[in-house]
Assembly symmetry: C2
Amino acid sequence: MSVKIITIGEEVFGANEAKAAENKALLDEHRIFTVNVLSSPGAGKTSTISTAIDSLKGRFRIGVIEGDVASAVDAEKIAALGMPVVQINTQGGCHLDAGMVRTALDSLPLDEVDILFIENVGNLICPNSFNLGEDTRILIASTPEGDDKPYKYPAMFTDTDVVLLNKIDLLPYLNFDAGAFRQVVTGLNPDVTIFPYSCTTGEGTEAWLGWLAKAAAAKKDG
Amino acid sequence: MSVKIITIGEEVFGANEAKAAENKALLDEHRIFTVNVLSSPGAGKTSTISTAIDSLKGRFRIGVIEGDVASAVDAEKIAALGMPVVQINTQGGCHLDAGMVRTALDSLPLDEVDILFIENVGNLICPNSFNLGEDTRILIASTPEGDDKPYKYPAMFTDTDVVLLNKIDLLPYLNFDAGAFRQVVTGLNPDVTIFPYSCTTGEGTEAWLGWLAKAAAAKKDG
């Protein structure tokens, strides 16, 4: 049977760029390497940030901004690691914007931070349209979500610097074609760096955190 | 370290109810049992609809409306099963609304449909705020997403009739507390029906599809 396609236009972009430039100038002044962390719900944003803190806290001072629709569950996990953290609750808003981040920056000790993680709201649709003033974007894809996600949420895979393919420890139990995934992602975004990875087993951690440490050191030592 | 919480208000609700009532009247007139299917990306919406079609197509005539930001990947899967299907591409919009569904209904043979699945955009934030004129809502949660999702996306778990807990075949490989999940979900939504379930192995299919068939038959014979 043939498929009928109806296309419906909708604007979701805001006038966010000026505020993002302010954030970028402030973060540059403090030589803070800032990472905007994006994914769908439950792909492993908080776990990825937690393992990065564990691994890098001897070499870098780390701060975190947590974005969620509701709750402070994630911020409490980060605070338990002894790191400065601010929770933003968007109350139904499906992404962070630069203004929310600006407000959060006022609550962080910027002179004592080398790497700032901004954990965005769990969503594969809207967050890519909002520059927060970050240095880099990390999109975490999770193997149980399936290898077709780049087809269905192409803008998120296009507008990122790094894709972490998390939960590779589950590959033996899934019907996930890692080669096909890589091919589609690099087709959308030829400059992307992909790190296969598992927060649970630690496999692949070294490559991704080596990349992050090198980038953060370059900004710190300017 | 203590957690600072910043709360930011944002309106995401639309004036959608009148159009939803129109849809409901049209669907009632044709005695079509209509299911709004919600989940985060990759939790198993299309697989759930496909397995329902396989199981129920001898007893019910089934139609599908597919909502996605981009692509017709899912609609092509459904069309391959021989079912009438309309793909809505929202072009960046993070949910379906009743107007989009009204347009899609014009392309479906309503006299030849007993059960209509509306697969919403993969998103745990916005879709719950938009009534489409459906009879029931199914929220699919996926075990690899973690048992804390009801805390973080409470409105989605509150505004649903059924929660399908999918991918229970992966439980042996995950740190997922099914009892804690059930407790939080029923705390938010005491009237919810929860079906643990696996699209891959078929475990739990009978209970959930039995529920669906009973509800659809009641409307058809109503």
